[in-house]
């Protein structure tokens, strides 16, 4: 039986957003390719959620937390049972860690970080940003299964209203050559730029690291993540996890607010596919204005605090 298998991850008892997005596009692909949508997760707590997004079966491993070697074997066992045409991974750290390992095991091809997917006869057709978004490649994956990792925010999560998925346990080896000995939380409570719907980013125009508080205040008021240009990361003002652009992350949130970011080619590549872009910069000729839907020529040191207050007022209503 062909169909689509989706690697899912659970956080706080719920499927991660990336997994819900991957299941949603997976369901559409299963309709086109024929066969059922099935899911894979660490444990059965995902069964209700997976069913709600259309999965008929949920494969679970008794292997415990994520481990690339053990999960490769468990995914292989799930694939042996359903022979899916397509295997999808949400583009999380673990999804991107596991997809290539599984692909090498199965001699299969992978399209990474895709923002469009369609079933074209016997092949999976995918669009993916290359050169950090300076160009888009359309690729065809012709192996069975065809594997893809999905880009966050590219595929809307849509429930289909199914009942709980039937849980099927698959075995995994008990030993592996690598193990997690500790997990250190680095940004407690902070939203990651790859997951966020809204990003507020700061650049060199902030003048010094302490002024990132202006960006943080606005991001917190809106409920968005904090982004940064490469110059600010290289200057040590903020951690690399916040960097947008080439040698950072390519992001495509619904709303991107850039303050004091001039718009180097590497930064523009990383954010210009955002759906709505607001730029605040004192230089009317700054390249960032070329991609901004709304450009504000002015002083970020007066505009950002005013904007944070205005957002709080709007939210209070």
């Amino acid at each position: 039986m062909p169909g689509v298998l989706v690697f899912c991850e659970v956080q706080d008892g719920k499927l991660k957003k990336a997994s819900r997005e991957a299941l949603s596009i997976g369901r559409k692909l299963a309709e086109a390719a024929g066969g059922d949508l099935t899911a894979f997760a660490s444990d059965e707590s995902a069964a209700d959620d997976a069913g709600r997004y259309g999965a008929k079966k949920l494969f679970v491993t008794g292997a415990g937390g994520y481990n690339p070697e053990m999960y490769t074997a468990a995914m292989q066992a799930a694939i042996a049972q359903t022979s899916p045409s397509i295997v999808l991974f949400g583009g999380t750290s673990n999804g991107r860690d596991l997809a290539p390992r599984l692909a090498a095991r199965l001699d299969a091809g992978v399209a990474s970080d895709v923002d469009r997917l369609e079933w074209a006869g016997s092949k999976l057709k995918a669009r993916r940003p290359v050169y950090s978004g300076k160009a888009f490649a359309t690729v065809e994956v012709s192996s069975v299964p065809a594997i893809a990792t999905t880009r966050m925010n590219a595929f809307p999560a849509e429930e289909s209203g199914g009942g709980a998925a039937e849980v099927v346990e698959v075995s995994a080896p008990a030993e592996s050559k690598a193990k997690v000995v500790e997990t250190k939380v680095t940004q407690s409570g902070e939203l990651s730029i790859v997951e966020a719907d809204i990003i507020v980013a700061g650049g060199r125009g902030l003048k010094e690291g302490a002024n990132f508080s202006l960006i943080r205040d606005l991001a917190h008021a809106i409920g968005g993540a904090v982004g940064a240009s490469r110059a600010t990361v290289d200057a040590g003002w903020i951690d690399h996890q916040h960097q947008v652009g080439q040698t950072g992350r390519v992001v495509s949130p619904n709303l991107y607010i850039a303050a004091g970011v001039s718009g180097a080619i590497q930064h523009l590549a990383g954010m210009s596919s955002s759906k709505h872009i607001v730029a605040i910069n004192k230089d009317p000729e700054a390249p960032i204005f070329r991609v901004a839907d709304l450009g504000v020529v002015g002083d970020l040191f007066t505009i950002l605090p005013a904007l944070t207050e205005e957002v709080k007022r709007a939210k209070a209503h």
């Binding site: 596991l98 090498a104 290359v130 950090s132 994956v141 592996s176 619904n254 607001v278 505009i303 005013a306």
Partner: protein, 259 residues
């Protein structure tokens, strides 16, 4: 401790990308090639290990003749040996490249295999873990800190909002993230010494592989396009911060539907 650092050569990040005549690849005319930025962190870490514990740092690259330049640059920074697998890597998919590198790695003694966490350009982030699987090694991806001890490596792997500390047996595959270290520049002495090193050059056939193992197997690029040119939207004067803030909030609410 012997390390192999797998180097990808990519267009300079300043490059304005143009589409080539076949509509599937970039126009290479005038493109300056550099060592992929993440590979520099990988190389630096391997050199530091060598300085601490001895052993060799071999840089390994697959691709056309221009790859020799990337290998020379890496030697100048402190790698001790270089292996160039000559071949047209442009039509190889990631697993094809991984098979070439895995075959070459079988001929080079090593305890650790380093990659950048992604090749800047194709941005696949696939080859490192694929090589780990092909060789049966553990993998630690997106590494921001690492230490070695007899027969094992302990590394910090960056994940969403946290870092995992992972302990693995060697040989192992490590992929480097920015922040792992501060890469050095090549010294004049290094540049002179690098000129004397003979790059071990071989073909895919020398490694027992055929073109069909590598080229156009599983993933094919059918077209390459530039994103639609944005013309820029409305520009307003922010001289009155309160008025500007009101207009941004209106935009966020009514057009972006973000509030």
């Amino acid at each position: 401790m012997n390390s192999v650092v797998c180097i990808a050569q990519v267009p300079d990040t300043e490059t304005r990308i143009k589409i080539g005549g076949d509509g599937r690849r970039i126009d290479e005319a005038g493109v300056k090639y550099i060592v992929s930025p993440y590979d520099e962190y990988a190389l630096e870490e391997a050199i530091r290990l060598k300085e601490k514990e001895g052993g060799d740092v071999t840089v390994l690259g697959f691709g056309p003749d221009r790859v020799q330049q990337a290998l020379r640059e890496s030697l100048a920074r402190g790698a001790t040996k270089a292996v160039h697998v000559k071949g047209e890597s442009g039509d190889a998919d990631s697993l094809g490249i991984a098979k070439v590198l895995a075959a070459a790695l079988r001929t080079i003694p090593h305890d650790l295999v380093f990659f950048g966490k992604q090749g800047v350009g194709t941005d696949n982030s696939l080859v490192g873990p694929m090589v780990a699987e092909l060789l049966g090694y553990p993998q630690i991806n997106v590494v921001t800190h690492m230490e070695t001890a007899a027969g094992k490596v302990t590394a910090h792997r960056e994940i969403e909002g946290a870092e995992e500390v992972i302990e693995a047996t060697t040989p192992a595959v490590i992929t480097a993230q920015k922040g792992l270290n501060e890469p050095r520049y090549a010294s004049l002495k290094g540049i002179m010494a690098a000129k004397k090193v003979t790059i071990d050059t071989k073909s895919i056939a020398d490694l027992g592989l055929a073109d069909s193992d590598v080229v156009n197997q599983r993933v094919t690029v059918v077209s390459l396009e530039l994103p639609p040119e944005k013309s820029g939207g409305r520009k307003i004067d922010g001289g009155d911060p309160a008025a500007a803030a009101k207009e941004i909030v209106r935009y966020m609410k009514e057009e972006a539907k973000a509030l």
